[in-house]
Each structure stands twice: as C-alpha cells, then as structure tokens.
Amino acid sequence: MSSKDVILDRIRAALGAGAAVPEVPRDYRRGAAPPDLDLLVERLVDYRAVVHRTADVPGTIAGILGSGTVVVPPGLPPEWLPPGLTAVPDDDLPAERIAAADGVVTAAAVAVAETGTIVLDASAGQGRRIISLLPDLHICVLRPDQVVASVPEAVARLDPRRPLTWISGPSATSDIELNRVEGVHGPRNLHVILLDAALPEAG
C-alpha cells in the first residue's frame, strides 16, 4: 500500500460516510469597481514606495538614477529608458551580474489600489522573477488600466499558470518587536511610475 493510499484511506475513515459540503457564502465585495488611483498612490506611499505620476517615463527614471546600469526584461519598451543609463537586457544573465546592477526597470501586470500592491507575471515586459529581486532598486512602470480596486478583481485578471510575484512596498520585516522595518533581502527601494495620460509630457 503506498503512502498516498494510506493517507487517502485515513482521510476517508476520518470523514465517515457522507460528510456534508457546506455552501460557501460569497457576500464579500466582488466584481468590478472603479479603481481609485489616488488611493493606490496613498497606499503605496504608506508602505514606503516612492510614486511618480507622470507621462514622462525616461525623464522620471533619469531623475531616480542619473547614471549606471539597469537590468531590463526583453520586452521592455526601449523608449522608457533615458540615454544616461546603460541597459543590460536579461538574456539569461547570471545571478551575479543581475545583483551587481544599480537597478531594474520592469512593467507590471496588475495593481490593487486598496492594498497598494503591484503584481508581476513574468511576461515580456517584466521578465524572469530573479531580475526584480536582486538589484537594490526596482523601478516599476504602471498603466492606469492595469489598476483594479480590490484583491478579487486582481485574482480574476491573473493567470495562475504564470509565476506571480505580489509586491506591496519594498522588502520589509516585522520580526523586530513586530514593527514594520523596510529593507531586508528584496529591493530596498521601490519606485512606481504611474503613467498619467492626462499629464503633459514634461521634460
């Protein structure tokens, strides 16, 4: 008898005949609600992300990091990068090279306004999970149409077959006296550029 059979038999014996399966009441908030971009910004800032609302991506990135190297996923729009930075495209870069970069620039899949969360799904504009993990600075560019109001809407938009990383602020810990302290193993600096089509492209 395999351990699988043993365990499944034990479970059936434990449950006895005809265990009732209760109905799950889903009376919590679900379905689409208009996302509140101001709330997203407030919640991101509350957990120590730096937020830029702008239509000028390269100018903003140049303001965050004037010079140096940034890892970029293969599908990142090249026009997002300012001329002063050296882009290192991730073509299966070794971990040491990624860790040595000054930052990483990615797009995003979804953002949740209520929780101040950004989700990456490893598609072409976001790249492998490792590139947004090792550099100490993560610059994430977000489109307004990627923002949803709540967690249920984000879950509905995401594809579970892709590797997903939910990010809410920079790396932090609550392990010292249960206070949130930013900055352990993940990027200690998270900048979110929220594209705002209504704003003019400033220099």
Partner: protein, 475 residues
C-alpha cells in the same frame, strides 16, 4: 504495529516538535518569572493588536470574508481526498513531482533523499511551520546536510541557539537590544559597531545571507496555500528571503500539510485578504510568490511537493476538533491571548503555541501526550473573535478537557467557566467583573473560591480596560 493501515493515527513520538519536555504549568512558571520576557511580549502583542485592528476596520466586509473563509475550509475538509488527488494531478502536469508522507519520519526521509540526490550539503530554508513540526533541520543535520534558516526571526533563533516562540515571529520574545547582542556574538563577519536600530539589524542580516542565497542550489519551503484546480502554490512573506529561496535555486522542495489545499484559484481572493490583515496587521504583506510546477527558464527547474499527514487525519476524525485544521497560521489568536501574553510560546512545548496550539498539538499527538494544553487558557474567547476563519477554539478546548481530566480543583473551575461560556450573558458579566478585578492582587488574593485556589499558582492576567467583546461591538 497494531494499527490498521488506513486508519487515522497520531503523530509519532520521538521525532519532531509537538511535545514539550514538561507540562504547561511547570514551563509557564519559568516564563512568568522572567520580567524582560513579559515586557517584550506585552510590547509586541500590543503593537500587533493595534495594527491589525486598524487595517481590519478599513474593510467594510471583514465579517463576510471571515464567513467565506470558514466555509471554504469546512468544504475543503469534506472534499479532501478528491482535492488532494486533483492537486497532485495539476502539479504533475505542470512539471512538479508529488510525494506523500504519512508521518514526520517519512517526510524527513523523503526530503533528505531528495537533497542527497542533488549532491549538495547545504540547503536554504524559508520559514515553515510544517518543517519545524517534523524536526526536519535535525534530520538533515544527522544526514550531514546544513539547513540555513533565512527568515530574520528564524535566523535570530538559530544564531541564539534558541527555540521559536511564536508562529509568525519566532523571536518575538527578543527585543532589539537582545537581537543586537545575539548578532554580535554569533553572526560571522558582523560589523562590531552594529547598533540596535532595527534597520541596521535588518541590514546586517541582508549582508550575512546574500552570498548564501547566491551559492546554494537547493531550497526548502512550506506553503500557505495550494490550489487543487491549478496546482498553484503560494508563499506569503515579508523580507524577500522567500523570493530568494523560491527563485534562485535549481531545486525546490516544498513540505505542506494536507489541510493547506484550497479548491479553486478564485478562493485565494478570500485568504489573501484575511491572512495579512489578521497576521502582521498589514493590508498586504510585502511579497507573495505563486508558482505552478516548473516554468522553463525561470526559477527552480526541479520542483517537489511533499504532502504531510503526521496526525492531521486523526484531527480530522474528531467532529468537534477538526476545525483546528482550518488554521491559516496567522497567529492572531496568540496576539490577543492573555495567557500567551504572560507565558510566551515556549511554555506550550510544541511548535504551535498559543490558543491554536492548545487545540492543535493535543489532537495531533493524542491528548495523553499534551494533557495540560487544553487547560492553558482562561476560555475568555478573544481567540475565537480574532480568528480570521472563525475557529471556535474555546469549544474545542472544553471538548478536549473532557478527554484529558485535570486536577479536581481545576476541573471544577474549568467546568464553571465552560458553563459560563455557554451562557453569553453570564460570560459578559464575568468579563466585566474580571475588569474590576484589578482588585484581587497578585496570586489571586481576593478572588472567591474556587478561583482563589486556581489562581494560587498563577499570575492573573491583567484584565484589559476594555474587553475584546466590548471593543468588537463598538467598532
């Protein structure tokens, strides 16, 4: 062995960390005599209660989410064989390998063999209750494999040659000054000018572990959730050590209790809202990683999932007690418990401390092996109110007390308490009376018998200014 194969059995003796060396009242006395420990615990639990209360109050539908979470867990238990089958199929289809472990020994053997097959002698670990429960680190060490805990609190515990005392924050009994001392004493290459500033302490851990992350090709994790429908695993964390372990190595081994499965992808929308707010008191924890089998070119290319029983089916066989399996390990019940706040986690003997530990550990081991734990509670009910999946811990405690008769005086008091619990008006009155009872001094002098006898060997918890029930009603 005399047990029939296929009948639920308890977690075996002689392996793992579900049984303490001494009964709760004896162990608690040591903790109660340590004023620094009590100050640390009081500060930490007060902080987390405030934070959690604030972010829970932001959600207009918290009670509806709790109801959904509770029903989802009950439905999962009722369909467990089918869901585990489905999970195995989905994980396998996505390129993972599923193993089944009837108890701690089998799980330790499976993991040890998998690590040996890689030829490695060191593994990095994400904090995981299941691997602590089965004593995996000891088993690996015996096999000549070094497990490196990468969670900050686990690192503090490991470097301090200490034991975890809280589900979420294993080093909750240490304050910043003590953590600094441990780092200065035991962390190789630590900067001797390290201060007790928390960001500096976190920075020291970052520097210390970075090279280990980059050079260790095998990782071991637990799992918060596994989706039967899709085969997706989820790990919820804060520091990024989880992401490191789940992303950088070539081989990932995840050990998960069979009760952690959830039916559908959509169900995560409930638990991802309940867990962080109840646990760390955040709207969302900094990082949650989700993966389904193996993704070519991204992350570990070998993924093993070990499904663990180790007494869980015995818990499942008790119709009253089985709801202890609904636990999502948030530790909210610890943070509101007046007994935990006084004794800390070590007194419970098991890796599962606090109210949930008092109902889970005796059921996993058999009540006879943890007979004092069902009495490690004042039955005040704060744990029930705080539980994000509405586990009725007080009722399970009373149920287990009937299976583990205690000293007669205590049984009488507990019986009276149980009667009071069953009569909410009386209970509310008793709680208000307890609030006035700053009047009984230490050791319960001034309390009427039989409570005075019960209190003789205990420090009475300081009653809160406002009872949890009053606070809850007033929200």
């Amino acid at each position: 062995m005399t047990t029939f194969l296929g009948m639920p059995v308890h977690a075996p003796r002689g392996v793992g960390h579900l049984r303490g060396d001494e009964p709760f009242p004896v162990a608690a006395r040591t903790a109660l005599a340590n004023p620094q420990l009590r100050r640390n615990l009081h500060h930490a639990t007060t902080t987390i209660r405030d934070k959690s209360g604030r972010v829970i109050a932001e959600l207009p539908d918290w009670q509806e989410l709790r109801a959904a979470g509770s029903a989802l867990k009950a439905a999962t238990m009722a369909r467990l064989p089918e869901l585990l089958d489905q999970l195995e199929e989905a994980v396998t289809a996505a390129g993972g390998v599923v193993h089944w472990a009837a108890d701690a020994r089998e799980a330790n053997q499976i993991v040890t063999d998998l690590v040996r097959a890689t030829g490695q002698h060191r593994v990095i670990k994400v904090k995981s209750m299941a691997t602590q429960e089965i004593g995996l680190n000891e088993a690996l060490e015996q096999a000549g494999i070094t497990p490196v805990e990468t969670d900050l609190a686990e690192l503090i515990v490991q470097l301090g040659d200490d034991k975890p005392s809280h589900i979420l924050v294993p080093a909750i009994h240490r304050n910043r000054a003590e953590i600094r001392e441990i780092f200065l004493r035991a962390m190789p290459g630590v900067d001797p000018s390290l201060t007790d500033d928390p960001p500096r302490l976190a920075g020291a851990a970052r520097r210390y572990l970075r090279e280990t992350f980059l050079s260790t090709p095998v990782a071991i994790s637990g799992a918060n959730f596994a989706v039967a429908e899709t085969g997706t695993l989820a790990v919820v964390e804060s520091e990024g050590n989880g992401r490191m372990c789940l992303t950088l190595p070539q081989t990932l081994i995840t050990v998960m209790g069979i009760e952690k499965v959830v039916p559908t992808w959509q169900d995560l929308e409930v638990f991802l809202q309940l867990l962080p707010r109840a646990s760390t008191g955040e709207r969302m924890n900094p990082y949650t990683s989700m993966w389904t089998g193996v993704t070519p070119g991204d992350g570990p290319q070998n993924f093993h999932l070990v499904l663990l029983d180790n007494g869980r089916t015995a818990v499942l066989s008790d119709e009253v007690g089985r709801q202890a399996l609904h636990c999502i390990r948030c530790s909210a019940c610890l943070n509101v418990c007046p007994v935990y706040e006084r004794t800390g986690g070590h007194a419970y003997g098991s890796v599962y401390p606090g109210p949930i530990g008092a109902v889970l550990s005796p059921q996993l081991t058999g009540v006879e092996d943890n007979a004092s734990l069902p009495y490690a509670s004042s039955l005040c009910g704060a744990c029930f109110d705080a539980c994000p999946v509405k586990i009725d811990i007080p009722s399970i405690l009373v149920h287990l007390r009937n299976q583990a008769p205690h000293a007669r005086t205590e049984a009488a008091v507990m019986g009276a308490a149980a009667y009071t619990m069953d009569h909410p008006r009386l209970y509310a009155a008793a709680q208000r009376a307890a609030k006035l009872a700053r009047l009984p001094g230490r050791r319960g002098r001034g309390l009427p018998p039989p409570l005075s006898g019960w209190a003789a060997s205990r420090d009475l918890p300081e009653p809160p200014k406002q009872t949890f029930r009053d606070w809850w009603r007033g929200r």
